[in-house]
Amino acid sequence: LNIRHKITLWVAGAGFLTSLVLSLVVFLEMREQPFRILDSDLAYAAASLAERIGKEQRPSGEGRVNALSFEGKEYWAKVYSQDLRPGWQSDLSHVVDLPLYRNMGDDGYTVRVYVSRQIAHLHQGKRGEVHFRVRVIEAQIGGAPHLIQIARPMEELQEEIADLQSVLGMGLGASTVLLVIVSYVFAGRIVKPVADINRLTKEINENTLGKRIPLGASHDELYELSDSLNRMFDRLQYSFAKQKQLLANASHELKSPVAMLRLFFDEAAQRKDLPQVFQHQVISQGEHVLRMDRLVKNLLELSVLELKDSLTPEEFSLTDLVQSVLEDFSLILTEAKIRLDVDLPGNLNMIGDKDKIRRMLINILDNAIKYNAENGEIKFQAIERDGFIHLSLNNTGPGIPKDDLEKVFEQFYRVEKSRSLRYGGAGLGLAIVREIVRLHHGKVSIDSAPGAWTRIDVTLPRHLGA
């Protein structure tokens, strides 16, 4: 469930609850309202009935008021004396019998009766049922207290309530759908900058540290977040640059002392008057100096590649370049009993930095030879497809565990420490390859498993900058 859905769900849920409560209140209020009107109507009718009876006859007399009607509506009415002796009653009450409840206070009550006979103005249901609203009211007639039981049929009130219910239900449904739509659209608008931030943050890596998240117009929390992230990238970029500069400076400063040491050990090795023990020591220490020399050179090269994003492009034949590099390695391959299988088109040209591409080829081949097995094999393949040159180099050997694969391009990463100690400057070769490929806007990847072939794939655009 993503944030957009969550927001939609919460807003729509809250909206639904609110409108549900509102509808309930409205429904209850609307349902009570007609009864109150009816009750006061009945009270008014009772009062006017009492007045009329009082005027026209004595309460104990047998005189009749035949039709009691207000605004054309028929009322059901019975008049009782204090001791519940029935007195006057309306026509309808002869036909329909309604129960008398005296303890209802000021409220009316609803009664359902079945009337078998069809009577005009009495809106009976299918089985003759009629709802009556009944009130029992005390009134003074002719100076004596009486009880008036008065009622009216309720016509379509029940149907109206059912209508109200369905209308409210539909309104509730419609408003919920509307809420879901509106809040979904709205949540999308809220979340969009977050998605932008997310996308850009993913895009920014070690090599694209210069990128920044564009700031929105409104200074809201997301603006702040973008701003904070940008500041963080500033700091990262600064420290990355500082670290690279440090590496460059350090390797540059190391050059002179190492040069001094090399000269010293070169000369010391020429001396014939040294005791033999000492001479051996000079030679073995000299090896360490050479290793250091190699390391400093590689470090310097790597830092120059990292700091200066500059290439010297030219058009050259990759076929010739590969062949000359393979030629340089040829005797070594024979000596190491490594079988070489080359699949190379005869006319592969490209535009790029020839010196650096040569360096890259040397480094990956060097790697394939160093970490090969006795009587091993190397397969080199180059093809051109869709404006890209795909180089792949497969070699036998101990293989590389899956967990280490990504790290082989890191500086000073060596899968097998002891084996690499025989070589100088190791641990930087593939890091240099990665930098050269990056500068050419290409891609390099490695695939291997313990005991399996190791495969390095390099993809380079055929025309740098095209």
Binding site: S256, M260, L263, E287, D328, R422
Partner: protein, 226 residues
């Protein structure tokens, strides 16, 4: 033969100065660009070894100035590795060769000798040892038995050993020289022995008396000058 060595580090001046003096060169030194120019305009040299990073005037400025004033003395530039710009600019402005620091003494001596030979028009471009003659320009190798065909790598090894005659040359320096600095000399030096073995066969040095092996170090071509 007079050589001017320009480097801002006193230790390197001293060390390199001694190495060159041992090879019977006459060595003057200068620690900055201005002193270097003073010396160059003061007296003629056969070769100038010039570091790029110098106080007061840098190596490229010095080079430009001496070329502008018509001095054609060969110049060997010392530079930092990876600074391809320096290399190109140096060669554009009339440097004859360049060498990246740190370098081996053998490499320096080989370059110095090659430059000196190229510069002196009357000196024959031929290096000799025993009955072997190597022509550095036509790249031919002859012995008393006739012409010898060498692979480029074998030629390169023989030439390097001859330039460093009477000095032990390590496998590592040989690897650096033969394959260049892009290759890992630690990998390549393991295979120098194979090349030397093939080379010895071709020049008829089957018992290793001309190219002598020095255990733990490398090889030497030793011969007293006659």
């Amino acid at each position: 033969v007079r050589i001017l060595l320009v480097d801002d580090e006193a230790d390197i001046r001293e060390q390199l100065g001694r190495v060159l003096a041992e090879q019977r060169y006459n060595v003057d030194t200068a620690g900055d660009g201005e002193k270097a120019l003073d010396r160059i305009f003061d007296q003629p040299y056969d070769l100038i070894v010039l570091d790029i990073m110098l106080p007061k005037r840098d190596g490229l400025t010095v080079l430009k100035e001496i070329r502008l004033s018509g001095i054609r003395t060969p110049v060997l530039m010392l530079t930092a590795r990876g600074k391809i710009d320096d290399k190109i600019r140096g060669l554009d402005q009339g440097a004859d060769d360049y060498l990246a620091k740190p370098f081996s003494v053998a490499e320096l001596l080989a370059r110095v000798r090659a430059l000196l030979r190229r510069a002196s028009e009357n000196a024959a471009p031929i290096l000799k040892a025993g009955d072997i003659e190597l022509n550095t320009i036509s790249r031919e190798v002859r012995s008393s038995a006739g012409s010898i065909q060498l692979t480029p790598k074998e030629f390169s090894i023989l030439e390097f050993l001859l330039y460093n005659k009477n000095r032990a040359v390590s496998r590592f320096s040989l690897a650096e020289h033969v394959w260049g600095e892009d290759f890992d000399p630690f990998t390549m030096s393991n295979y120098i022995d194979v090349h030397v073995k093939n080379l010895r066969c071709k020049i008829g040095d089957f018992d290793g008396t001309l190219i002598r092996t020095i255990r733990g170090i490398g090889y030497i071509i030793q011969e007293e000058d006659r």
